[in-house]
Amino acid sequence: MEELELESILELARGHDADALAELYRRYARRVFGLCRYLMGSTEPAEDATSEVFLKLQRSIDSYDGSVPFPSWLLRVASNHCIDALRRKQRERQVIGEPEADSAPLEVAGPGPSPLSEVISAEQQAAIRQAIARLPENYRVPLVLRYYSDLGYDEIAQRLGLKRDHVATLLFRAKRELRRVLARGRE
């Protein structure tokens, strides 16, 4: 099974072949979990989400038409699943809120060197990961969709039910927040 081409595995998986599905899990579980971990904010729900995504795969694999690479398709399924889960979890308030009207105006260019852009050590990388993981949901989710799943603004906007401009603002604020947290961590 391990040396088989992805195509053949997918073919077998479409026929609900248990070994093929297990192989897909072996190959992609880590990436799916990584995405879920960032989107959900903590390990346990991420584990749940990962197993649910692969459970669903048995049924949803029929809808995979090969128009995008399988990993991208799978990550898209996973991010949709996580966004749904987050929505359900916090049904009463909008998960990915519109940016607040009263928050500070967007500043003009010139923030100086960013702690995010310097050459960074493993330790600093870990600190950035922590900071991302602890961002509020409305910052974290767009950020992860953009830089982990490589989605465009339009796609993010559509998934989260937001306007395109708001996605840009949220991403911008998310990065600014990261800089702030990291800069404070260095003081």
Binding site: F33, G34, R37, Y38, G41, S42, T43, E44, P45, D48, E52, L55, K56, H81, D84, A85, R88, K89, Q90, L106, E107, V108, A109, G110, P111, P113, S114, L116, S117, E118, I120, Q125, A126, I128, R129, Q130, A131, I132, A133, R134, L135, P136, L143, V144, R146, Y147, Y148, G152, Y153, A168, T169, L171, F172, K175, E177, V181
Partner: protein, 536 residues
């Protein structure tokens, strides 16, 4: 030409700027080195983000540099111990505060007399108020809250299995402690009587308006009622929750009681542990071991073979105590007939509060410590205790955050719902005891009621942690939710709550509001956490 906003550059770097806009921006960049530098920085930032996101973040425990600890038990057990310590500190502080408002004590729900009045009156009002409507209300509301709280805790525990192993251990202990009571003989009616010629061979659990034991109970007696009277014999221990507990017969074991009044005019084989408003051992009363009691009034006319330790606002001793007498609180009077075999230790506020008649015999040392009650704010001990309480609350908060990060932050956030939290909190504050009483009254629910009680007390304690954290978060205006921010907020919030709690008159109300807010947020979060994640 003016520079564009950083947001515009960020969109450009993401490759998401409209073609025409991008052209204009590029034109500007060609001319402005400062903006070019900024764009480079933003590009580098994106690269770092993508690179960093390839790996997963470390977990909380590892972050704290404590990865080598087996989290599952160390943290859990530490949390349990810290909670116990914190609760202990709170209770001892409560004891310490008993003597403050003497005349109006019965009005203050945070004093023992007032709390007692409130609890008993409320419970009997609901339980035996006579009004059918209220009985029904208590039944329905009680059961609903009981089921709701139990169901949600079960779901929560189920979902959080790995992280709440210690909680489950506690649950198991509580269950195992309380399960035997199910197997015992149970009686439940308006009047539960064990007649003079009757013998109950097993332990007996009795609930009713009046529980009267004229015969013999060979095991323990657990009694819940307005009045519990033992004129016969209980061979085991006597455990009561009652407005009035009277023992004129014999209890061969210990007496554990939470009552408004306990009168002992008979024989008690072992010790008495009582949390009561009034405790009296009359001249026919005989206690084979010692007494440990928290009470407003204590009267000892009979014999106690060993030591007596009381926390009371007034204690009168005219009987005999085999060993030491230790009293903390207000007035202490030893009559001529009083005899203390060991040392007498009294911690009082004024020398004149201690009256020792000339004829009283004291075998050991007399140690009368006058604790000058200028104002408690002038007392270093006061600040020490406050600091200890604050630290305990911080520790509990921190452990809670480490163990249940999502739940704790969610609860903190739920405090922000304001009136929803207050309303829900008040309902839980009043409803949970009703549920517990109904649970106890139906007996099958005793273990559940005990667990609920533990949860209830823990939540009342934690209320200030959640409210404090919320308050701090607002004041510090931190949008992020890092552990450090949360704890800093907690510190600030707790300080404010503590100080506000000492404002005369309003302080009590503030503390009450904090409890309601926190409880409400907790209940809400419990409800939300129990929402199943449905598969689609």
């Amino acid at each position: 030409m003016d520079c564009f906003s950083e947001l515009t550059y960020a969109i450009l770097v993401d490759g998401e700027l409209a073609v025409e806009d991008a052209r204009q921006v590029r034109n500007h960049l060609a001319a402005c080195s400062r903006c070019r530098e900024l764009v480079e920085t933003l590009r580098a930032e994106n690269r770092v983000l993508k690179e960093v996101l390839r790996e997963l973040p470390q977990e909380a425990g590892e972050r704290a540099g404590l990865a080598w600890f087996p989290r599952s038990w160390v943290w859990g057990d530490l949390a349990v111990v810290a909670t116990m310590l914190a609760l202990g500190a709170a209770v001892s502080q409560w004891f310490d505060e008993q003597r403050v408002p003497e005349v109006l004590e019965w009005l203050n729900p945070f004093s023992s007399a007032g709390g007692m009045n409130l609890i008993f009156n409320l419970s009997y009002y609901f339980g035996h108020g006579g009004a059918d409507v209220l009985t029904h209300y208590a039944d329905i509301v009680g059961w609903l809250s009981l089921l709701g709280l139990l169901g949600s805790s079960a779901l929560l525990l189920g979902r959080r299995w790995r992280r709440s192993r210690s909680g489950l251990c506690l649950l198991t202990v509580l269950l195992s402690l309380s399960l035997p009571s199910i197997a015992l003989e149970r009686r439940h009616s308006e009047f539960v009587t064990v007649a003079a010629n009757e013998t109950v061979d097993d332990s007996l659990v009795a609930a009713g308006n009046t529980v009267r034991i004229e015969g013999v109970v060979n095991g323990d007696l657990l009694a819940f009622g307005r009045t519990v009277e033992v004129s016969g014999t209980v061979k085991g221990d006597l455990l009561t929750w009652a407005q009035r507990t009277e023992v004129h017969g014999t209890v061969e074991g210990h007496i554990y009681t939470f009552s408004q009044s306990l009168d002992v005019g008979g024989q008690v084989g072992r010790s008495i542990y009582a949390w009561v408003q009034s405790l009296r051992v009359d001249d026919k009363g005989h206690v084979g071991d010692g007494i440990v009691a928290g009470a407003a009034d204590v009267g000892l006319e009979g014999d106690v073979m060993r030591s007596v330790t009381v926390f009371a606002s007034s204690a009168d001793v005219s009987g005999s105590i085999g060993r030491d007498l230790t009293m903390t609180g207000g007035n202490l009077t030893l009559a001529n007939s009083a005899r203390v075999g060991g040392n007498l230790t009294a911690r009082v506020h004024r020398q004149e509060e201690v009256h020792i008649a000339d004829g009283a015999t004291i075998g050991g040392k007399r140690d009368i410590q006058v604790q000058v009650k200028k104002t408690r704010f002038a007392h270093p001990k006061f600040y020490f205790f406050q600091a200890v309480r604050l630290l305990a609350a911080m520790l509990v908060g921190w452990l809670g955050l480490v163990l249940f990060p999502g739940f704790f932050q969610g609860t903190t956030q739920a405090v922000g719902a304001g009136w929803r939290s207050v309303g829900l909190g008040f309902a839980v504050l009043v409803g949970a005891p009703v549920a517990m009483i109904v649970g106890v009254a139906t007996l099958a629910g005793i273990p559940v009621a005990l667990m609920l009680l533990a949860l209830y007390l823990a939540a009342i304690y934690l209320a200030k942690v959640w409210v404090g954290a919320f308050l701090g978060k607002i004041l510090l205006k931190r949008a992020t939710a890092t552990t450090r921010d949360w704890l800093l907020g907690l510190l600030v919030g707790l300080l404010i709550i503590t100080v506000a709690g000492f404002i005369p008159y309003a302080g009590g109300l503030i503390r009450f509001a904090v409890v309601c807010l926190g409880l409400g947020a907790f209940a809400w979060q419990l409800y939300r956490a129990s929402q199943p994640i449905a598969t689609t």
